[in-house]
Symmetry: C4
């Protein structure tokens, strides 16, 4: 049974987050999709193809953690990328997928590596479990794939072998970011975008050095 | 006969789009012009020389598809660039012409090519008919010309020989972008500007490599 | 005699312009100053040292065209740079001086030249008297000087020998921009900042080429 | 005794500053912390871990100038970096610590120097005591350290030997900035961020020259 009041509260919160992310230019042209966990076996996710800055409660679908809709409507084509994360990490309560310029550009630029390592930033402490700038956080990078099930399995397989982290990138596509609840997911997303923006700017200088 | 209620609705919708585009810095200093189709043989277009962030319904003119005014006022000097698109593509309902920094800069930078090819971006799927990042979309680039009729014919000639696409650039000038209706035109414009912004940033790195 | 109603109207209009310019980051940290002409022999100018995003009517002083106050208060230390322009160009009605990042950076970067030449931009047509992109507009660049009278004379001397233009730069300092009235001055300022932003971005690429 | 009315006024003013700084992207992901002086021996500082764009009066703690709380709650872990400044400079009334992209990037880029020297900018006059662009202001840069007491002593030791200035940087971390009161602190912060942004852009060009 879906708790309709809780569904509605979550939809309103995600719509407000969407408006803020759209204003920042992180979900242009109907891109991106958002979800929060409803309970141990279900989540609420954005419907397919909506303007992410003008979401209303009817633009959300309840799904089980196999990405199958359990309320009316057509969920985002990338729903399985959300539900696999809820399965893999029982503690998380929200997933935000965005296409900011920074994550798109750096995802196309960092070609030979399969992760971007962040270190020596005070802002790393925004991530749970990090208490010093003198840490390393790996943001993995996956090739884009229209076969969402295959991509979701590849991501899940990565996290079966590597330490948890708050986000991953898909090349030429965007970022998936998660957190205990929507507020901590927004905090992680702000930190990831900020840190990758710094890395991108620093690459301009190190790029020159390597010539 | 002009349906004055529909004219008014379209003017209000274009004025709202103009305010948003002005806030983004895409139509500075009275630049840009906007239109939507009224019916099979007419369109509504911005008057000449207006501040695009403060348009009122009296700042729009009805024109036939030969760019001749059919209501009072002086339509934009570039009206024929709009009406030729409505003639060429019977399905489209809106055309937005902007001067964002990104389109202006990249249009002056990409000198020897006559089109910018976009590929390996998930956001290409924002364009109708594209269902995979593994696609190519060519954004043609034309030299600027104060003879608007000549330029309109050159553009039309290009599309008589090439596949449709959602936008073209004019060198040192800006972008023309279209869609089925105003919402899809805005979606296409956001996607084009985002993708060209990514290309411009990536050119900074590849530029260094070519030295 | 100062027309107090007209003074008040001009103060309100300049305060609104100031709020917009502050939001864009073009007058940070109390920098910049603004004026409009009151009549053939006087102008209204911002008081010294005010926050330019929160101006009130009492933050303006009436001055004669020799930069001497004719109402209570201390006018901006740079008032003579405004009044000399009103003397030189009888047609102009407004002067805006800003410190945007773009004008500050490019003014420090373009070292050996005494003017920045803008050409092949459609947006040049935002300037009065320009009707084709195939034009050249020179934006002169002067060395900074705390002796405002000396600097004002240097600028005036330049314009006694060169064609008019809508703006000049002071190295490491900012831009002075003018127009027939406040609206056309804002239009010119938007166009100048946009075009210099494009030039700055293009210099990054041509800079690489010259290595 | 804490003057609860004055405490409340200061909290409201800092919350408003926080909202503005958050909108600019200078305190992302709960980063940053803010304070104002209450009297000769105490200050009000942000509580630990709060969203800096949504502060309420209960998100502030009164502390003595040894960084010990004298009201309920847990002050920011970096409180000693604030209180040492109030001890060192008896005239100052406010301290803002931010993580803007510009200060974070430049702090990681300028490796071999222990200060960034700003000169030939008109905006230097935003700082008290500077009356010409032909001045030099050194912004010192310290290595990051999770031992806040050690870092606070290192900063204090620096200022025991060097002239005062309005701000310092911590590598990979952010900026500390101060002023006579909150308004002048905001003015100094805007000027510092603007000037470092200019320096960062100029370094891109000089970097190329050095290749």
């Amino acid at each position: 049974m879906i708790d309709s009041k809780y569904f509605y509260q979550q939809a309103i919160a995600l719509a407000a987050a969407g408006e803020e992310l759209y204003q920042r230019g992180w979900v242009p042209a109907t891109s991106g999709n958002f979800s929060t966990r409803l309970d141990a076996s279900s989540a609420i996710v954005t419907a397919s193809g909506k303007h992410k800055g003008r979401l209303s409660p009817t633009d959300f679908i309840a799904v089980d953690l196999n990405a199958q809709p359990i309320s009316e409507g057509k969920p985002s084509a990338e729903t399985e990328l959300h539900t696999r994360l809820y399965q893999r990490f029982p503690n998380i309560g929200a997933v935000l997928h965005c296409h900011s310029p920074v994550v798109t550009i750096i995802s196309k630029l960092v070609k030979p590596r399969d992760a971007i390592t962040l270190s020596d930033y005070e802002l790393l402490k925004a991530f749970d479990g990090i208490d010093t700038h003198n840490s390393q956080v790996d943001i993995p990078l996956f090739d884009n794939n229209q076969d969402i099930s295959a991509l979701a399995k590849q991501v899940d397989n990565y996290f079966s072998k590597h330490a948890s982290c708050p986000a991953y990138l898909i090349r030429g596509h965007g970022v998936y970011c998660w957190g205990d609840d929507l507020d901590s997911c927004m905090r992680n997303l702000e930190a990831v975008d900020f840190l990758l923006r710094c890395e991108l700017e620093l690459m301009r200088f190190s790029h020159g050095d390597q010539q």
